[in-house]
Amino acid sequence: MSTAIAHPGNPHDEHYPGGLMRWLTTTNHKDIGTMYLTFALMMFFVGGLMILAVRAELFQPGLQLMKPEFFNQLIGVHALVMIFAALMPAATGFANWMIPLMIGAPDMALPRLNNWGFWLLPPAAILLTMPFTLALFGIGDGAIATGWTFYAPLSVQGGMGVDFAILAVHILGISSIMGSINIIVTIFNMRAPGMTMMKLPLFAWGWLITAFLLIATLPVLAGAVTMLLTDRHFGTHFFNAAGGGDPILFQHLFWFFGHPEVYILLLPVWGLMPHVLSTFSRKPTYGYTAQVYSFIAIGVLSVVVWAHHIFTSGMPIPALVYFMFSTMSISIPLAVLFFCWIATMWRGAMTFETPMLFAIGFIVLFGIAGLTGLVLADVAADAQYHHSYFVVAHFHYALFAGGIMGVITGVYYWLPKWTGHMYSEKLGKLHFWLTVIAFNLTFIPQFFLGLAGMPRRIPDYALQFAEFNAISTIGAFILGFSQLIFAYNIWCCVRGGTKVEARVWEGAEGLEWELSSPPPHHSWEIPPVIR
């Protein structure tokens, strides 16, 4: 499918092998970006199928389709696939495609590292999902069944799926770190003359903070899962109380990575939003400086709040109070972003093309994630929300409405730039409305389920939860299948369509819109002059 994205232009510029070898050996930032995005889209459907199976099981009380152990595998692998193999690669794909265009660079600073970073992903994804297939042939007992959090000691006693997942996480981590290093050095060293850091597009700023967060936290995750591996096979007792270890240590290490990970997934989207809003409001971005400092503040705060994920594990009161207030204080820079987004729209001249619709949907639904997050920070009330469906609903508002809908916004916004063709506005709008309605149909009932006391990660539930679960499952299926419209729309747009100009959108500002659509094979051979 990806091969259909050709780069017309001067053929002398393009000396790459044809066919598969082009993609295996490419060092071109646009080719690599395309591969990242294609991979992410494929894995989005893989992870989606997994959760549709889960929702089908949860449609009615009783066990209908699967055994509890298989159910546990599906939920954990769904999360790992969506986070590590769909959302993160999608954001990296955006970075690869857009950052060189936006900062006036000819390519990423380290193109071969870039290629390597991508090609680590498919083997990691295969490792993660292979135990499912192996179990079909009677080898092992399936994939990791601990949820995506790997909590010891459950993960110590788990089957070989855990080892596969540990290995996969290592590889995915190395890939992300290489991608992050590349993005940091590109932003630092490859900017066009005159582009100071405070003229850097906000998308690049968002990614810069993300890259630093990845570098600071992924080694901790890698360390934690390595310790898990040695506990499993080499007789260490990091997480075993009988040997002087502590299972809660694992939770601290995991969430030291896990909480910043949320912002790793969201910062690129927050960086993208001002571009989209400013474009379709035909008005300059409001509060550029404030947004930059908010990104930095959120980046710093995100690494000092991790223990709010483990309030119920038992902590001294000062620790509880500290983690509660530090978590609440994230609401301040986040509110700055919301303020700037709405202020950018204020007194603009708005039109509502698909990217703008998704951006507004993102703001509203991500607003719910932020507000419920504020409530979850409260230790006393958290005792009731924790480990329940309330949390499941909350983080899907953050990661689906905030993360995936943000990525969809970016795809619709930049797709004409990448392909040189316009997508179908009609299908795009249909996709938007189906997504928003089905998403709320899926997750609003889950808030109420959590309040009523339904724990998460259970394959079967008491009768009082039946109605909301049925509604949620119906919503999930509509949501899942409406994403096929998205894939179809992309496919058609790649294949052909109305030609677009360099400046695809009337109100678009920035270097990326100065290059032709699609851009030439080598992006900026002559550095643009920044006024």
Binding site: P106, L110, I184, F188, M190, L218, P219
Partner: protein, 40 residues
């Protein structure tokens, strides 16, 4: 202001990038190894 990324300029930018990349890579490795000495 130059009107092209001259080969020298590009080479300079790339080598600066490589140095920084190795530095960050080293920091990552240090952080990873330091993790094993964590005690609670």
């Amino acid at each position: 202001m130059e009107n092209a990324f001259s080969p020298e300029d590009l080479a300079r930018r790339r080598s600066r990038s490589k140095r920084l990349a190795w530095l960050i890579g080293g920091a990552v490795l240090l952080l990873y190894i330091a993790g094993f000495f964590l005690k609670r």
